[in-house]
Symmetry: C2
Subunit: 421 residues, 2 copies
């Protein structure tokens, strides 16, 4: 029988409505493999927790607290934006990781994040081969951007997509009611610097039985002001109103972000604005239509109250599968979601080699965007629809969702050395 090793788990990058569901999957499953995994130590604020020996003892949390992670948004152990350099560039960093892992008898490494985090995980997985420290490193995928390769979709994305689809539908109903004497265009700014996955989800708001005039502005499509205004004008003339879903990453013909308008206040200070007010202003100036605009920002990725059931299930499943892969000794892998069928939606978990995941960005296929550049195709809809399916409401108390806060008891430090990050 193999010797028991402790596990390290951490969350990295922008958090989501369901990354804690993955944490739940990791911890609950690890607790079932007591013959292989001792304790699960969570890194406080991602890999920084490992480097600074700032570990959290998850065994101090009750089963019910861990279960509650499944319905709690955000990163329960704190996240970080911190990328490891390569072993060649910054060997001391890896020596430090080995020092901390050795001190706490850590043989499993679970890193829960997106593309950058996959890269970090891959580097850690090389500790065995390159530096002789035996470790099994598994990447647990998460990103609202939906831009990881191999996996059909990324946990975290489905819930943002659902939030944007629901919000776009609701706001469109609102503007439709107001259009006769007041607002005719509603502009919603959504996340997505590089890929238009989230913006595309706005298109789901319009269905056969509930058609809604929506113009989507994708980062993949160079913004053409005249064409855009013509499209809005056409829809408002036909329907009396329209909604615009604009990705924060939309760029103009000059290659600059549309949000980067060189805004100055009365004193000449630069102002950092969003893209929604810029687009809204164009509509006002170009078409003289009354508008409203909103910026979803963190609300979209934190909205656990309207999370997609499919997303919650998958987030849990990748955490669970990550542990199952690890206890079988699979190093440098990632649980990937494989779509078996769209209608009915069926999926399973496969094992992807991490080397093929790290530093590869999956863009939206060209045939997911309509030829005019303002909408989603039937193919895109077929891909997206299953991801927002089902509701998975958190429990409420006095009108508010009851999200858990863990005790996050620190593991006693064993090292006398410090490490500056």
């Amino acid at each position: 029988m193999p010797k028991t090793k402790n596990a390290f788990y951490a969350q990295s990058g922008g958090v989501t409505a369901v990354i804690n569901a993955s944490a739940c999957g990791v911890i609950e499953t690890a607790r079932k493999y007591k013959n292989k995994i001792g304790k699960v130590y969570a890194g406080r604020n991602g890999i920084i927790g490992a480097l600074t020996e700032d570990l959290i003892d998850t065994s101090r949390e009750s089963a019910s607290a861990i279960a509650a992670l499944k319905h709690t948004p955000s990163g329960a152990f704190g996240s970080c934006r911190y990328k490891l350099k390569s072993i060649e560039e910054h060997r001391a960093q890896y020596e430090r990781l080995i020092e901390v892992f050795k001190a706490h008898d850590i043989g499993y490494f679970f890193y829960n994040g997106g593309g950058d985090s996959a890269d970090t995980c891959l580097k850690v997985s090389q500790l065995s081969e390159k530096m002789g420290y035996p470790i099994v490193a598994v990447h647990v995928p998460k990103t609202v951007d939906n831009d990881l390769p191999i996996t059909d979709n990324c946990p975290g994305f489905g819930s943002v997509a659902k939030y944007i689809a629901v919000s776009t539908r609701e706001a469109s109903f609102d503007v439709a009611s107001m259009a006769k004497t007041s607002t005719k265009v509603f502009v919603l700014e959504v996340m997505g610097r590089h890929a238009g996955w989230i913006a595309a989800a706005g298109g789901l708001a319009s269905t056969k039985d509930t058609e809604i005039p929506i113009v989507i502005l994708f980062p993949e499509v160079t913004f053409d002001k005249e064409k855009f205004l013509a499209r809005v004008d056409e829809l408002v003339k036909k329907h009396g109103y329209c909604s615009v879903v604009v990705s924060e990453g939309v760029k103009g013909p000059d290659g600059k972000f549309l949000s980067d308008q060189g805004l100055r206040d009365a004193f000449g200070h630069a102002q950092l604005g969003g893209v929604a007010p810029v687009v809204a202003n164009m509509i006002k100036e170009g078409l003289n239509l009354k508008y409203h605009w909103g910026v979803a920002d963190y609300l979209q990725r934190a909205a656990r109250h309207i999370a997609s059931k499919a997303d919650v299930d998958q987030a849990y499943a990748v955490g669970k599968a990550g542990v199952e892969f690890a206890v079988k000794g699979n190093n440098a892998v990632m649980p990937a979601i494989q779509r078996v069928s769209s209608k009915p939606y069926k999926w399973k978990i496969a094992m992807a080699p991490l080397a093929k995941v790290a530093n590869v960005e999956k863009m939206m296929p060209k045939d997911f965007i309509t030829p005019d550049g303002f909408g989603i195709t039937a193919k895109c809809r077929q891909y997206l629809e299953p991801l927002i399916k089902g509701e998975d409401y958190p429990p409420y108390k006095d009108g508010l969702p009851q999200y858990v806060r863990l005790k996050n008891v620190p593991v006693k430090k064993k090292l006398k050395t410090e490490f500056k990050v």
Copy 2:
């Protein structure tokens, strides 16, 4: 037995997540008084529908379609921003109303809106006395601003309050996770030009068992930049992060809206921005903290998916009571919500004279805001808490809420005359 008369119902002003629940209450209840009320004709786009004889025959809608209004946000018959002048100022307008009402045998008038609409309803109620046309006019209260007098609260507000409280909690969990290496302050802009009721709801996000550092900026409190930055600085130093909920109506010491910063783009064009980016920019410049900001805009008042059960129930109840008052011959009244107790929350419907409602704005009591001007008091919390209680989820299909769109069959015009609005 009295002669049967038809009823006119219309929606006015900014729509809400639950104004259609009031419509449902009016129509379902009217259908029960067949000996008094013939058909319910809805005005397309509020009072404009009456003036232009653009009426919708709600009897053409199935019972299930009318029932579905209870879970559908926005205004099913279209709303308007249109205020009647007084009878003395614009007699022709009232003569037109009488002409239309006579042509369609309308003896009941239900107007569903806020302060301005109460004024319109009051003027219509005077048709009997001043112009000899017998009508029973009842105002059905609705406004997210919560600024109508006499009624303890306004239908529509509770659901916005719940949305803002839930969103603030969720975004705060998010920023708390990111704070170590990235965003430390999240700024959320909410509605409320004159009164801080909605901003106050942001304070509900923090409870005894889930404390969250929140700074609220109320329109009632003159913005003090130094004091504000000091407060944010203090909270970030103590908790590592904080959230700011800012009302769109916040004004600076110069009496101007804080959002009105005279922003110009690179070409010198004026840009209409929100207040969230202005506040966020101050935090960046003054404290050098990384921030994110969101603007809820229409999302907050259209968010039927997270409506307050108490709000839905009350919106329905005021519609129902409006009809009950009317069939008893009560002219120029409004169903008002009376709070019987806060814990447990109990309320009932009372009858308020419309003359005491129209053109009176209810501001937030001074003792609802903490002495430092940045938070809500226990008294405010006690008032607000019951209003967000309970969830009332709409039905979903393929991941999206199923909101009804009525057929809105027009009533055949009987008049040859037109009226220009």
